[in-house]
């Protein structure tokens, strides 16, 4: 519309060797980029401010968080009790990541190989539902399944005639199941993208060269799918280190994770510096995984 704009765009797009173009290009393009990124930048900036706030409070003395400086919160956090909860959280996250990947691998294989578009879409919707539907709602379902008179114990009762065989609710087994179930899509999607990139010719070549199917999996498919498997593991791990709802609802008061004790320290006990120090630890664990992901070079789905 604007005449100046018209002519400059024309020059850029004409592709003719015009000496003005290289000089003008950054001038035209740089400013819109800043404006385009501004709203998203404000959101991420808020996240950054939140991180700084937490770091600041973790370095303050109790009840005077904004004024003084002190490392006492970190000394408090080094207490064996909190360390055991940190370890327990990491253990739950590692175990859930491994289980999620083990469950996701056959599902991803099916989705990549099936010839039926319909089946692929049904499975995709099926794995998305647990991530999307309220964890609270699903935890009601888990209570009905895992409870003392729940589905699992009734099945066990039918087989062994022993009432209430399993205690699954309010211990780490139930929490682990919940953590795995809700993060399956985070593992399936990266695995699909790396499995989808393996040409079927490679499997044929392996077969022609005399490899059994298991050998093909061991030496061809698994190594090539490794980036997706690693990305999925790290994503589930990173997501579950911050687990809050699942342990809160399925763990009762017996299973604590870092996120749950942060809530306790901040909300009920008003020990802000300690809660903040634990938050810093949680952020460090989650972000170092992101960094590890980058170092390994396995690009996860969400940052594509």
């Amino acid at each position: 519309m604007n005449k100046r704009m018209w002519s400059s765009s024309k020059m850029v797009s004409s592709g003719l060797p015009n000496p003005v173009v290289p000089a003008q290009r950054p001038k035209i393009k740089r400013r819109p980029v800043a404006w385009l990124l501004l709203p998203a930048g404000l959101l991420i900036g808020t996240l950054f401010v939140c991180t700084l706030t937490v770091v600041r409070i973790s370095l303050g003395p109790r009840y005077a968080e904004w004024d003084g400086w002190s490392l006492s919160a970190y000394a408090e956090a080094a207490d064996p009790y909190f360390l055991s909860i940190v370890l327990n959280t990491v253990w739950l996250a590692v175990a859930s990541a491994i289980l999620a990947v083990l469950i996701s691998f056959p599902i991803a294989l099916f989705m990549v190989r099936t010839a039926s578009n319909f089946a692929r879409r049904v499975v995709l919707i099926g794995i998305m539902l647990p991530m999307v539907i309220s964890l609270l709602v699903q935890s009601f379902g888990w209570v009905a399944i895992l409870g003392p008179d729940g589905l699992f114990n009734q099945i066990a009762f039918a087989i062994t005639a022993e009432p209430r065989t399993f205690t699954l609710l309010f211990n780490s087994t139930g929490v682990l199941l919940g953590l795995v179930q809700t993060t399956i899509p985070l593992a399936v999607l990266p695995i699909i993208s790396s499995l989808g990139g393996i040409p079927v010719d490679l499997e044929e070549a392996a077969s022609v060269l005399g490899a059994k199917r298991l050998q093909t999996y061991r030496h061809v498919i698994l190594p090539l799918a490794a980036p997706g498997i690693i990305a999925g593991t790290i994503l589930v791990f990173g997501f579950n280190t911050g687990a809050f709802v699942v342990p809160l609802l399925l763990g009762g008061s017996r299973v604590s994770t870092i996120a749950v004790i942060i809530r306790d320290q901040m909300g009920t006990l008003f020990n802000w510096p300690l809660g903040a120090a634990l938050s810093v630890i949680l952020i460090v664990i989650a972000l170092s995984m992101q960094a590890a992901n980058r170092l390994i070079g396995a690009r996860s789905q969400f940052e594509r």
Binding site: A40, Q138, A286, Q290
Partner: protein
């Protein structure tokens, strides 16, 4: 035939049956909630001794009746809808331009910015919730509904961006060049050429953010107030105080609602289910 290596026979059957088994396991809690919501019993016995719609009728009475403890149910539902709608709009406003910048422009630090924008996925929600709560109370300003909306925009932005960027990558830049050559301003090019082409990607991102925000619990848990009381918090309080099968009926209703939206996303994305990848 050669192409079918490992794609039929025993191996394919093994993969198919394990997929079906694992899917059933993953969906079990959701299926159980739906079945429980149809129980005719007043207890939480599973499987239900008989089926009925009585708890749905109960929920209807709660929503329409005068029972004081349940007037909040409808109110909470509306609050959640508004929060979800505003969060989805916020994510569009932030996500679409940012995706466009990342896909179309080359600039210093592009990769780093892309990295930063993916950060909210692994950032612990509890920490974000508590930090926002501290900041909001320190500021002394009443943010009302916006404190939850802003929090949701932050954590769901990557989901929006992923859908937008996938859609944008499939748009041929030559089309935009052509529009610009023909005299269209960059804004007009975007609204008349690019936007119609990425419409379904944006729409599926919007719906995804909408349903994620509608169901979100952790941030709502830290940021809700007496006036801004989302459905997830209402359900949480009810489950702590009076756990009746009516809770399952309400839960099942939200499941149907969410499943419907996911189906729409799937239809928008079209065949192959590309967008959720």
């Amino acid at each position: 035939m050669a192409n079918a290596i490992g794609r039929r026979g025993f191996e394919a059957m093994l993969i198919r049956s394990s997929t079906i088994f694992l899917m059933a396991l993953i969906l079990l809690p959701i299926i159980v909630v739906v079945i429980m919501s149809f129980t005719a019993s007043t207890t939480l016995e599973f499987p239900p001794p008989a089926l009925s719609f009585r708890w749905y009728a109960d929920v209807w009475d709660m929503a329409t009746g005068e029972n004081a403890s349940f007037t909040r149910l409808l109110e909470s539902f509306w609050v959640s809808l508004i929060i979800a709608g505003l969060s989805a709009l916020g994510c569009v406003a932030a996500g679409v331009p940012a995706s466009y910048a990342l896909v179309r422009y080359k600039f210093a630090g592009r990769a780093a910015i892309e990295e930063l924008l993916g950060l909210p996925i692994v950032f612990p929600a509890v920490v974000l919730g508590i930090a926002l709560l501290i900041l909001v109370s320190a500021s002394g300003i009443d943010f009302g509904i916006w404190q939850i909306v802003i929090a949701h925009c932050i954590i769901f932005l990557p989901f929006m961006m992923r859908n937008c960027m996938t859609a944008l990558k499939s748009v041929d830049p030559a089309l935009e060049e052509a529009a610009k050559t023909l005299g269209a301003s960059p804004l007009r090019t975007f609204f008349e050429i690019v936007l119609p082409l990425i419409r379904s990607g944006v729409a599926s991102g919007v719906l995804l953010v909408f349903v994620l925000s509608f169901n979100e619990f952790t941030l709502s848990y830290f940021l809700y107030t007496v006036d801004v009381f989302p459905l997830s918090i209402w359900l949480f309080q009810q489950s702590n105080t009076s756990f009746s099968p009516a809770i399952f009926a309400i839960s099942a209703l939200t499941i149907f609602f969410n499943a419907a939206i996911i189906l729409i996303v799937d239809a928008l994305v079209g065949r192959g289910g590309g967008a959720l990848r």
